[in-house]
Symmetry: C2
């Protein structure tokens, strides 16, 4: 019965999915290149905050339209003020266009009550063509050791591994390695590691834009360090290294140095073909509260 | 004899050294905030290219003057066109000022023959006050295992561990772990690791600005991967986590994933007190030539 219902639901695809609809940007005026209207969806919020990776995907989409190259290679984002669901405008600038790489800047603004624009996030990004890269890989990096998907834990597997009432939880298919969810039952490992499987809940496969969401979508490493509360991102830089193969992704996030009230969080994303498809690092403010 | 000559040379200090003089920026017009003239010194070149970390320190100094906070916490730089020794102008923008953090943007331009400005590098940076941070440290990161300074190798110790005729070599006191200089004698380890001791040759101690130089000053990991030639930086993001203690620094740089003609290079910088003072990651184009 359940299976037959599932069979009737067409799997979402790249270009036709909730993620694609919710990251849509519309050129405001054909005569003014680089200015895009967008609507921040309430579907990608954690408590009341719009997820930083979703915002990055929106900015990434606008830049992919504005620049002559379509794939983000490296995106550096500085977060300025908290975003809220609702209308936004993305203003892009093409800084340099080259044969293989082009560099642009984009800012996402929302509106104050008097209509003035308030900047939420600014990014510098360099784009290229992932499909034009040579196939050679020489890597010493190894995928994270994560138990099989069926042996990992999601939001429905007991005491809220992903805490809070978060709309984004319904849109993500995250199953965490049980070794990294001790914090959900009051027993954080203290190592600063969270890892697991990642997909979009509607089955849409990953692409470079959704990888910008993926790098900031797991519960924060601060939870595994025994800290609770908000871990606001100051800056997040993501390298997209390869177009991901279809299928679920494996993601690990790690913090090695919590000091002076700040921490770095490194993410690695691996695809089903065993390729390291994205690497990111963010600087975040550490939560003040003990778990 | 040699010792007595050395004793007569006053050690350079923070604020009074070649590095400080060569990163000086001058407000162009008291009525126009945020625009600084600078002179790119030929003293910090590798072959003919101006070192990317030196450029970053120049931009960092201008932003430290323009923003209400003086210490770089996170600096994201996208490199656009190669710089050359000579005049430059740095144009900064204050994006957001907060109580503990402020964010700015800066671009370094040089001049074409017809006087038009050509952008070399653009950065987004968030600044704060390192001395205002709480002292708590919870780190799992360990300093790199490097032999004693006297057992490490510098440019004068045989077949040019730092190849080429590079003015910057005279200004740096770099001694590399012998285990990571096999490439200098045609035997790279293939691991993608280079590590060693770092100081400024005139004895000036490290500060947050000189750390921006330090993260991009060692020979590239590509050499240890058996590749020779230029490794142009596409993007480099640096986190300054702590004001460094006086004394030599330990630096390790590592590449885990060379793929599709690009590689990431991670740097860690540790001070004499055993603190992790800086972390950086860059995306660079891999050299095309085999060593």
């Amino acid at each position: 019965m359940y299976g037959s219902v599932m069979a009737q639901v067409a799997q979402a695809t790249i270009g036709n999915s909730e993620f694609d609809r919710d990251t849509a940007v519309a050129l405001r005026d054909p005569g003014v290149p680089g200015v895009y209207d967008a609507e921040l969806s309430a579907g990608w919020t954690i408590i009341t905050a719009v997820n930083g990776g979703y915002l990055l995907a929106l900015l990434g989409r606008a830049l992919g339209d504005a620049l002559p190259h379509s794939d983000p290679f490296t995106v550096s984002a500085h977060y300025l003020t908290p975003s809220a669901p609702g209308p936004a405008v993305i203003r892009t600038e093409t800084i340099r266009t080259g044969r293989t790489l082009s560099t642009g800047q984009a800012s996402l603004f929302q509106y104050a009550e008097d209509g003035t624009e308030v900047e939420r996030i600014r990014v510098l990004a360099t784009y290229g063509d992932l499909d034009a890269l040579p196939g050679e890989v020489r890597t010493t990096a190894l995928p994270p050791a994560i138990p099989a998907y069926r042996d990992c834990l999601g939001p429905s597997d007991g005491p809220a591994p992903i805490p809070g009432s978060s709309a984004i939880t319904e849109r993500l298919n995250i199953k965490l390695d049980p070794a990294t969810v001790g914090w959900a039952v009051g027993a954080p490992s203290g190592k600063g590691e969270v890892r697991g499987w990642f997909g979009l809940a509607d089955g849409r496969d990953a692409d470079p834009l959704s990888l910008l969401l993926t790098v900031d979508a797991l519960p924060p490493t601060a939870f595994d360090l025994g800290l609770t509360g908000w871990t606001p991102t100051v800056e997040l830089t993501t390298h997209i290294r390869c177009r991901p193969a279809p299928g679920l992704l494996r993601v690990s996030i790690t913090t090695r140095n919590l000091a002076g009230g700040f921490l770095e969080e490194d993410a690695e994303v691996w695809d089903s073909a065993g390729r390291l498809v994205a690497q990111s690092r963010q600087l975040a403010k550490a939560p003040l509260a003990r778990g």
